[in-house]
């Protein structure tokens, strides 16, 4: 067992992947000597060299476009987008090329490219450094979209994403980078498949569904709810596309109530997809409409206001109260 922060767990996961497969490359802005602005790639260039850990020019479309070319040549690039709000210059390459080229080739081409994106708020950052752009990518067929919430998942999921033959958009909860956990790095028997979610806290009265940074918030909310005599089940989706539908539906059928929690704006957010699917598949089990707790339909606010924008324990419990109000 090793105690690792989420950031270090990603680092160790990538290191393992690079040791296992010489075709695995790291590329991005400042990923070399600096180790990335969050130090996630710390030390990798020193150990694997500049050909495998590539400090790229400062252009996101170029990072993804050349990663596609490297994948066409048989490499497995892991790209770092420095911050969520900087992914949009690469959106064209991700959406029109990375996601669609395998189908264009009638299956002749596989693009095992991982796009790592630190996401979400809560670190007091300036504009464009706190966003949650997952819904843009879950809407794009051809991409897998996953989000880790804790160090152990970060360690396993990054390795699974790198091994996956499809492009994977890999969201990392930046405010959780420094959280630590004891991880068994020697054994793989405990790993969960990349496209499966997890019940991270069992409960009977309502289901909280979250991913990435909001999982911890939901766990805290569930603990607080216990004092009010409410037993909340918490699901960490881990994978948004594909979605572990059986896990979600099984839980909601048992509890009869679902509250989806994410940092992204509620309007047209991923919670809308969940609400629609749960309603369709659990209609006769529901005691209340599926409710959503998330960011407002505004751009991400200046950091002095982010505590009001981001769902916290109270906002989550308010959502649960609303559910029980029906």
């Amino acid at each position: 067992m090793t105690i690792l922060s989420l950031s270090k767990a990603l680092n160790e996961g990538m290191r393992k992947a690079m040791e296992d497969d010489p075709k695995v490359l790291i590329m991005g802005e400042d990923v070399g000597k600096l180790g990335g602005v969050f130090r996630v790639t710390d030390g990798l260039q020193k150990d694997f060299g500049e050909d495998r850990v590539i400090d790229t020019p400062l252009a996101e479309s170029g990072i993804i476009g050349t990663a596609i070319g490297l994948a066409l040549r048989g490499y497995r690039p892991v790209c770092e987008i420095q911050f969520d709000g900087f992914v949009f210059p690469a959106a064209d390459q991700i959406i029109t090329q990375l996601a669609k080229m395998p189908m264009r080739s009638l299956g002749a081409i596989k693009l095992p490219v991982v796009v790592r994106i630190p996401c979400g708020g809560g670190i007091g950052a300036v504009e464009h450094h706190s966003e949650s752009p997952e819904a843009y990518f879950t809407h794009t067929a051809g991409l897998r979209v996953v989000a880790c919430s804790n160090p152990a998942d970060a360690y396993t999921m990054i390795q699974q994403a790198i091994r996956c033959d499809d492009p994977v958009i890999f969201f990392e909860p930046k405010r959780r980078y420094w959280e630590k956990a004891d991880i068994d790095t020697a054994d793989t028997g405990w790993w969960t498949p990349l496209d499966k979610g997890k019940v991270v806290r069992p409960g009977t009265d309502a289901t909280l569904i979250a991913y990435g940074p909001m999982v911890k918030t939901c766990l805290e909310a569930a603990k607080a709810a216990e004092d009010d005599g409410r037993s909340l089940e918490v699901i960490d989706l881990r994978s948004l596309n594909p979605l572990d539908t059986p896990l979600v539906m099984d839980s909601v059928r048992r509890t009869g109530r679902a509250v989806v929690v994410h940092e992204a704006p509620v309007n047209s957010g991923f919670g809308a997809e969940l609400a629609a699917r749960i309603t369709e598949q659990c209609f006769y089990h529901l005691e209340a409409p599926v409710l959503r707790v998330g960011g407002f339909s505004t751009p991400y606010p200046p950091s002095k206001l982010e505590e009001h924008y981001l769902p916290d324990l109270d906002r989550v419990l308010d959502g649960v109260d609303r559910s029980f109000g029906f």
Partner: protein
Amino acid sequence: MTADASRGAAAPPELVQLLTPEGERVEHPDYDIDLKPEEVRSLYRDLVLVRRIDLEAVALQRQGELGIWASLLGQEAAQIGSGRALTDADMAFPTYREHGVAWCRDVDPVKLLGLFRGVNHGGWDPKEHNFHLYTIVIGSQTLHAVGYAMGVQRDDAPSATIAYFGDGATSQGDVNESFIWASVFNAPIVFFCQNNQWAISEPLEKQTRIPLYRRASGFGFPGIRVDGNDVFACLAVTRQALKNAREGQGPTLIEAYTYRMGAHTTTDDPTRYRVASELEAWKLKDPIERVKSYLFKNELADQAFFDSVEAEADQLGADLRRRCLAMPDPGPLDIFDHVYAEPHPLIDEERAQFAAYLEGFEQR
């Protein structure tokens, strides 16, 4: 205004030319080519056959058999010259107009039609031909080409990569980023820009204030302008640039100065934005006629040869037509194929639901 944005008959300065529009061999201080008669005849055959493929495809579109077609008319020499400069191990990244390069890479012409007929988005295996799929979003493929070349570099392989794009694409961010990447990483790549003077309706002046080949110097690698209607010059210049790339000398930008003699695609109407005299001037610089003149004048081919190429073209056209019409339509459930390489439950679920829905009609 630019010094040489003229699209008329006058040759712009600094143009590498080895064969004049009249079919005269001329010398150039930096580039030369020594072609055996059978090699010249072979290039002529390529030029005629790809023009015929193109003509047949335009006709198929006019008759409703293709949804759209992007004609290469006028650009045959640029494509055959550069395409024949490639070795088998070199990799090419085309736009959607490189039918001549596809020919050089042994892609069955009928496979080019799938995309335009709407039966698929691209029907060949790029690895089999070292010819990537057509890319429709302008300029995207230049980054893929550079990434591929970076892979070649890491493999320490003795091959080069060539990226095709047009004059309009040079305004795209991706193309400029690809220049930067190629330069910084000294990637073994040749950027082959076919400047056909028009990006749909927008003339070159809307894209640049300087000749395109001169852009390269700002990025830190050589740029060369070649007569894009001169198959000898295109072959010589591309061959040299590929050799330089393979030998670790980094990228080259080649601007093949040519002309789109037809419409942008079959949906376009160039009479709305360009004058007829421009086309007439460029017809005098036709890429095929000058090779024919050269062969005739130097007695390197007789009438029987030209007749045999024409007959082969006729047969190729008829064969292409027949096989286009025989192309099977995709089945409705093909929609769900190849979206992911690994199993995906949502795709499987939707496929099963749609299959059941379709079966419902059959049972009624």
